[in-house]
């Protein structure tokens, strides 16, 4: 008899609230059964600045999704991002205890425990403590069990955020009686949706350029090596345009969507367009070159900041390719610009062939990744349940 359960992904993005509901069959098959969406309010740079408005819009999206799937949502897998999220690397060590020098599970657990227990400054909490791999006598391996050595090190990427901001995100959902089952960094979720297992093994940097922030995750050997936030997104481009070409925010957004390009051809350089098109008060001619210079300056800076963060992995053995996703990745010429700055081949996110056509939008990468994350965690939980105890509270903040 097949076993099925419903999982829900909620992305509180700067541009939109996105809810996807899926049905997991036997912890393997994931069927998409419904969705809800609402315009975001009260969120800037991926941080909730007005919890009341944010909660109300999240609820609107949830209600819509419930109707769409004819199902009641009890818990969600919530994506989180924001300028407050930081990360650092931490290594835990343990001596191999066995007389034969073979690494056993207890040694690995001690090394992991050593890495995971680093305390944070007051007011900060862990969002993820991600094991990136192990070293047995300084030699890298993904699974140290059974190897011989004197010392085993566990390397972790520790992601943490501001307590208040995390609480705001959780409260925005729980205020209308829905439990937050998993809290997941959006960058990790997006990477789950748009990169293949092989890419993750070879070394891929996935960058989700959203409205408020750009979230990235670097995978190597199938594990996350580093993830973080560059506090710049599509809203910054719109804001720059409204300053540079003196238009309202709404019109700047329109210009960005229709005329925004990260690269211009020689022919396009001399082109102009009417800002409003009605030739009435306020309408003016805008050179495409001016728009391009503003956008290019912002994106170049974004990729340079990213380059600063991941500099140590821009080696032959490190990042092999860059994948861009998120709404802003739809901008013309952005991949070419990223490839030039990061000196790596760059393309847009590619979705798995099992994902339906109607879902294959870069804007949906985070929500789709959250669904996948919930499915994986659900499968892990089922395996544990088959022991004797169900999931623990600790799972909320750990992988």
């Amino acid at each position: 008899m097949s076993d099925s359960k419903t999982i829900t992904a909620l992305e509180i993005g700067t541009g939109k609230m996105q809810v996807f509901i899926g049905e997991v069959v036997d912890d393997k098959l994931l069927n998409f059964i419904g969705s809800g969406q609402a315009a975001t309010e009260g969120v800037k740079k991926a941080d909730i600045v007005d919890i009341r408005r944010a909660a109300s819009q999240a609820q609107a999206a949830i209600v819509m999704a419930e109707r769409s799937a004819s199902a009641q949502i009890k818990s969600v897998c919530l994506g989180i991002s924001g300028t407050h999220i930081k990360g650092f690397r931490n290594v835990g060590s343990a001596n191999v205890s066995g007389a034969d020098g073979v690494v056993r599970r207890e040694d690995v657990e001690r090394a992991k425990e050593d890495a995971r227990t680093k305390s944070l400054a007051e007011g900060r909490s862990y969002i993820h403590r991600i094991c990136c791999g192990y070293y047995v006598d300084d030699k890298f391996c993904t699974n140290p069990l059974g190897l011989s050595g004197r010392r085993v090190d566990a390397e972790y990427w520790m992601m943490h955020g501001d307590n208040d901001r995390i609480a705001s995100a959780i409260h925005a959902v729980e205020s209308f009686g829905i439990e937050v089952e998993h809290l997941v960094f959006s960058g990790i979720a997006s990477a789950l949706a748009v990169t293949s297992p092989q890419q993750k093994i070879d070394g891929v940097l996935c960058v989700d350029i959203g409205c408020g922030t750009s979230d990235y995750a670097y995978y190597r050997h199938g594990h996350i090596v580093q993830a973080g936030v560059i506090p710049v997104g599509g809203d910054h481009i719109t804001n720059d345009l409204s300053f540079g070409i003196r238009l309202t925010r709404k019109n700047s957004e329109r210009v960005k969507i229709h005329c925004g390009k990260a690269n211009l051809s020689e022919d396009e350089r001399g082109m102009q367009f009417w800002s409003l098109g009605d030739k009435q008060i306020g309408d003016k001619k805008i050179p495409l070159d001016a728009v391009n210079r503003i956008i290019r300056a912002r994106l170049e800076e974004l990729f340079l900041l990213l380059r600063e963060d991941i500099q140590e992995y821009l080696t032959e053995d490190g990042i092999k390719e860059v994948v861009l996703t998120g709404g802003t990745s739809n901008l013309d010429g952005i991949c070419e610009l990223a490839a030039a700055v990061l000196e790596r081949p760059c393309g847009k996110g590619r979705f798995d062939s099992s994902i339906g056509e109607k879902l294959r939008y870069q804007e949906y990468a985070t929500a789709l990744g959250l669904l996948e994350y919930a499915r994986i965690e659900g499968a892990k939980s089922s395996r544990k349940k088959s022991g004797w105890l169900g999931k623990t509270f600790g799972q909320l903040f750990n992988i």
């Binding site: 809800g36 300053f243 009417w274």
Partner: protein, 461 residues
């Protein structure tokens, strides 16, 4: 002195009358109010007792439709009424919106009358500059009017609407209501300061000593904060749009008026006054007045004004907006609407849009199908390409009502050069949409400030 002091605020044109209407609602004791406009219905709507309609047969008691020539004829025909309005005032506060018809003409005439009086009143002028997007013609008329009135004012404050628009990323209508609110608060602060209703008062002679001459470079800034927070009040003061055109301003002399609740502590007051004086690098005279108001609770309002010793002007002039032949008085009409109504309407509009989006999505998502993300068509139509060989638009002859001799032409040229100073503000303040969020610091750089500005990339429009 304070009891006998006649402080009179006159609003000229639609924008001026609208400010007067809001001032009337405040019911400030010792402040006489008058409104002058060609549009009789707008004056009636303003509900001010002392309303002077100058339209008459020239405009059939309607607005001038932005025609400065018409406004000039109407003003000259009612010249005695204008003299009457100015006569007897010790402090004359002229409020007007420049760029349109009545405001651009009547306000300078009022300042001229004041400067020619035997007993010259102390003239404070508040003027709203038109939005850059309203076109160069209005801009030129506004700058001519501004220069004229500045020469005849002891304290001239110009509120460039562009700065407000750029700072808050708000629609045109909202920009006007924000501008109104700043001017109303500033006028109220001056009135309170001089009417001796405060705990510590600034007397009229002090005011005259700080601003002894007309035509000097002056500034006025207004700031407010809650929780009795001195730091926030100072930040708000520094970010005041009335101050926005200057960078690293050094004040020659300074007057500070503070309005606070009864619980505001003495040490905080001292800190605020000292910090403000320090920030503005005052070299000359400093005066301050304090008004306590039970209703304020933990709210504080600071109004700083003074002469400018030195200020850095922006590094390069901004490009002038393109010429536009068709004009509309819609912007002026909108300016006359109250800020509260505007804000309410905007909120409702935002809600409607949100509901609209939700219902659209619901319709498409109800059957379990996912709605596609907002596409390019959802943000509005694509901008129309402009033909490069298109003939330049015909320039309508600009006007400012006092002849157009050689002097006027020189004045116009100077005005063109000076207008550039209104386009910039301190770089750290150029955060627009992100203004109400904490600085986005990385490598000691605020990433919310546009990159092209930080990197000095020139954008030619």
């Amino acid at each position: 002195m304070g009891a006998n002091l006649t402080i009179r605020a006159i609003g000229a044109g639609g924008a001026g009358a609208n400010v007067i209407k809001r001032l009337a609602a405040l019911g400030l004791p010792g402040l006489e109010l008058a409104a002058i406009d060609a549009d009789l219905s707008a004056l009636e709507d303003a509900g001010v007792e002392n309303a002077i309609a100058i339209g008459g047969s020239h405009t059939d008691d309607m607005g001038t439709g932005g025609d400065a020539n018409l406004a000039k004829e109407a003003a000259i025909a009612h010249y005695p009424k204008l003299v009457q309005a100015v006569r007897g005032a010790d402090v004359l506060i002229i409020i007007s919106g420049f760029g349109g018809g009545t405001g651009s003409v009547v306000a300078p005439i009022l300042s001229k009358i004041a400067s020619e009086m035997k007993k010259k009143p102390f003239v404070v002028s508040f003027s709203f500059a038109p939005l850059g997007l309203e076109g160069a013609e209005r801009g030129t008329l506004a700058t001519l009017a501004q220069n004229y009135i500045r020469k005849r004012s002891n304290l001239a404050v110009s509120l460039p609407n562009d700065i407000i628009l750029a700072r808050a990323q708000v629609p045109v209508e909202k920009a006007f209501s924000i501008a109104n609110a700043h001017v109303v608060k500033s006028v109220a602060a001056i009135a309170k300061m001089l009417s001796k209703s405060g705990t510590v008062n600034i007397d009229f002679p002090t005011l005259k000593k700080v601003f002894p001459k007309t035509g000097e470079k002056t500034f006025l800034a207004f700031g407010m904060a809650r929780d009795n927070s001195v730091e926030n009040a100072l930040e708000s003061l520094a970010a005041s749009p009335l101050l926005g055109k200057y960078q690293n301003l050094k004040a020659g002399s300074l007057l500070i008026s503070l309005t606070c609740g009864s619980g505001f502590e003495m040490n905080k007051m001292q800190l605020l006054l000292e910090s403000a004086a320090q920030r503005l690098g005052v070299k000359g005279r400093v005066g301050f007045g304090v008004v306590t108001n039970e209703k304020f609770g933990d709210k504080i309002e600071v109004c700083a004004m003074g002469t400018i010793e030195s200020a850095e002007l922006p590094p390069e002039p901004a490009a002038m907006p393109p010429k536009i032949s068709e004009r509309s008085i819609a912007a002026n009409e909108k300016a006359a609407e109250s800020a509260e109504e505007e804000e309410k309407r905007e909120e409702e509009q935002a809600q409607e849009q949100s509901e609209e989006m939700n219902s659209q999505l619901q319709a498409s998502g109800a059957d379990g199908n996912v709605a596609p993300p907002p596409s390019a068509s959802d943000v509005g139509p694509a901008p129309v390409p402009a033909e490069p060989e298109e003939a330049p638009r015909k320039k309508r002859r600009g006007f400012f009502g006092f002849g157009r001799g050689k002097d006027e032409k020189e004045e116009a040229a100077a005005a063109q050069a000076q207008q550039a100073e209104f386009k910039f503000m301190e770089m750290s303040q150029q955060r627009g949409f992100f203004e109400d969020t904490p600085p986005n610091l990385r490598n000691d750089v605020d990433l919310d400030v546009p990159t092209y500005l930080r990197k000095g990339i020139k954008i030619t429009l």
